[in-house]
Symmetry: C2
Subunit: 485 residues, 2 copies
């Protein structure tokens, strides 16, 4: 094991030199030689961490833990007993592993339940329409809603429809898949847009580039002051069928039944376990994170038990290896992410007053833990230079991608405001095939890919946490962005 | 247009010479030069047929018709009004196209309805289990079945379980996917096997090598004298989850609700339209076929509207081109195939007495109409030699694959008994991803691939129907095989 010999004073000097002297660019970093040399000394340690996790005694263990966890608790919808059971389990296990300051921090979060639901085309022919109600959607009346169908491809097309045509109808929005960001607007905005024109319900085309008759859930949003109407996702195939038939002038009637209900907000918990720093404890913390909750379909293995487990195991394995950095590495498993980043929102508020001192860098994995291809990074120019040097240590992942404020979902607000952020790049080209579906299960997770992800996470977090200097940041003041999805 | 000048007498002579003189082998065909020359003279005609369908005035029309049809009628479950509407539509359209002897032949067939259905794991955690009841399954009592779970991977594993363990349980069969033939046994046999040991219901792993949380339906079978218990397919992912949990000793309880019902048998119809032969009308018929019915999920575009439409359009386009062969080319759209080859079974019985005279060759497409790669053929050695010469005419598809009695599903009994049979080979590697699911829709069908399939079907059927000689056959006597799936 290599441990740095720099003292606190030398660390302070290095920071001053760095910040005062260097004007870094993505293409041309002028880091002081001392910093470069310091980082390069971590090479043997990084390789040791990789070896132990990828091919040594920890190989396969991230996947095994993930399998045990998803089999044990299944899907972990916010408000469900099984989410809280999973949190209790994580606390117990992290304590058993000897992690430091294992605890939870409460957050009042939304409590939506799906209940029984179905949709059926009943005119001009009968066809079951596989569907998933959208999170936070209201239900239908007990008898369901029997409504004639309007189908459009875009908001623009919908805006051109006269309100009297929309009145009392079930409106199908069938936007072509572009990206989760662009196409996702239809999941959020369609219900209130349609309700404002008098629609009875909305059905949206599932957010995916590929389908085997698979509906995809996810939250919707209701605008204040607009009547709340039921909103559900149907399959790509059915959305296109209904759109074609509507355009041909076919009269269609759908029977939609949803028992969905928004209950009183409930208490859930963000889950925390640390590898406490030797020099700094509750300052300059390096956060590694994923979210504990999932949708109530599949088992949320990819979204986001994978992110939870590479974060959790990164800390556990470092602990088991007897490694301890200068700064604290804090694993956080956010709750109620799927409800609209609710758990992290509470945490952010609770830690806002001291955040510039408390946090150094935020890691989050929430875009799959397929075969890793490296790390994404956001931070200022000096931070990029330092991170670039650290990335060079990682065997097989020597480069990184600069993402200019776009890293993660839960940590997004911090990163947008100038905190350095790290997320896992991986071969997730098919991520949205499975996203928020019954196909999000352990079958998507590969043991070798998880080992590499955990190793990359552990080694990068460790070097950052142990460096003589903080990764620099330019943080704008805290303001809670209530519009975040 | 090329038309052969051989008379009936010369045709008879050629047949006698051929059968008497030739001993053909797959590798070494000794066809008389006259036959070879005769076949080769069709080359310009075959190319003209291909050109007109693939890049000429018929290009794109098979797909357009298929789209219109599946959008118009949706899924076509046996016993449904929409299946009978689709049959009426085909009759009307084929009549409008000027096809000969357009009519239907009645068949009394099964009438199963799915009704509402759902399954939910309720212990040790809650999880909806996407499912599709199996065709012909009985329903559950009104309140559903609440049963503890037993899960096995194989029949062997199940046989080793003591009956008292199985009594009253919901048994999950989770066989690994091998092939539709091998793994399909679990769909047919599990219900009665489990019932014989006292099980309350069975859930089988869906028959597919790939899943996005997608259940696959299909018929099950009840053994006479064994109690009929509800049978449904669950997803691959859930089946494996339940199997793993059972093996770990977790107590699991599932609530299964199925309103499925077997109604009185009903009358459906096989649908027929012909291009009548110039020389033979109701003898030596060349049949081109697919099945009209589908499951009640998706729109049955691939299973088997594709097969119906390449057969239908092959005949329609030949008619529109002004071509007419010596023999009749008969398009048949079977009904109730999915119920267990019921429509064709009735047709076969009705045409049994005269079958050796009535039929020459049977074509069927029921394994997808993806990009075609050629034709499969079954027939005796001389038939193979002749078919090989015909295949050489087909631009881009000059070879064929000999399949020794294994061709098609509906026509399988005829082919097994020695009639020459032809089916479409195509790039259907992913066929079972979609098979019997809500993903079996128009999205699976490609316009160019359909054109090529229709062209190959039309040209091959035409040459066979127009040759001076019949394709020879060694037919064993008719016997209706009630075990056919």
């Amino acid at each position: 094991m290599l441990r740095m010999k720099l003292t606190f004073l030398s660390a302070l000097c290095a920071t001053l030199i760095l910040v005062g002297v260097v004007t870094a660019h993505e293409s041309k970093c002028k880091l002081p030689r001392g910093i470069r040399n310091e980082i390069r000394q971590y090479q043997p340690l990084v390789e040791s961490i990789f070896n132990q996790i990828v091919s040594g005694e920890y190989a396969g263990k991230t996947w095994e833990s993930l399998l045990d966890f998803t089999d044990r608790f299944g899907p972990r919808l916010t408000g469900s007993k099984q989410l809280e059971d999973a949190i209790d389990f994580a606390v117990e296990q992290m304590s058993n592993e000897g992690l430091d300051n294992v605890h939870t921090e409460e957050a009042i979060v939304s409590h939506w339940e799906r209940g029984r639901e179905w949709a059926q085309l009943v005119e001009p022919f009968h066809k079951n329409l596989p569907m998933l109600g959208l999170g936070k959607s209201v239900g239908t009346p007990e008898a369901g809603i029997l409504g004639e169908v309007i189908a459009v491809e875009s908001f623009e097309e919908f805006e051109n429809l006269p309100a009297q045509l929309v009145q009392g109808k079930i409106v199908v929005f069938a936007p072509a898949w572009v990206s989760y960001g662009a196409t996702g607007r239809y999941r959020y905005e369609s219900a209130s847009l349609a309700a404002a024109k008098g629609a009875a319900a909305v059905l949206i085309r599932s957010m995916t580039p590929f389908s085997i008759g698979t509906p995809h859930t996810g939250t919707t949003q209701y605008e204040p002051g607009v009547r709340r109407i039921p909103a559900a996702a149907i399959t790509v195939e059915d959305a296109m069928l209904l759109l074609r038939k509507f355009r041909r002038g076919d009269k269609m009637v759908i029977h939609l039944k949803m028992d969905a209900i928004n209950l009183e907000p409930t208490i859930s918990r963000n889950t925390i376990g640390e590898l406490e720093g030797t020099m700094y404890k509750n300052t300059s913390v390096v956060v590694v994170s994923g979210h504990m909750d999932s949708w109530d379909v599949g088992t949320g293995a990819s979204d986001d038990a994978g992110g939870v487990f590479i974060s959790w195991k990164a800390v556990s394995f470092l602990k088991a290896m007897g490694l301890r950095a200068r700064r604290t590495i804090r694993a956080i498993f956010w709750t109620a992410e799927e409800q609209g980043l609710e758990g992290v929102g509470v945490y952010e508020q609770q830690h806002a007053d001291n955040e510039k001192k408390e946090f150094n860098v935020f890691f989050e994995s929430d875009s799959g833990t397929y075969e890793p291809t490296g790390l994404d990074f956001s931070g200022n120019e000096v931070a990029q230079c330092i991170f670039g040097e650290i990335a060079k240590l990682m065997p097989g992942f020597e480069d990184f991608r600069y993402t200019d404020g776009v890293v993660g979902s839960d940590i997004g607000n911090w990163v947008e405001r100038g905190f350095p952020g790290v997320s896992l790049r991986n071969k997730n080209e098919n991520y949205f095939w499975y996203h928020h579906t019954d196909g999000d299960t352990i079958e998507l997770e590969d043991s070798g890919a998880l080992d590499k992800s955990t190793a990359l996470w552990a080694a990068t977090a460790f070097v950052i946490a142990d460096l003589s200097i903080d990764i620099p940041k330019n943080v704008v003041d805290y303001s809670y962005n209530t519009d975040r999805k």
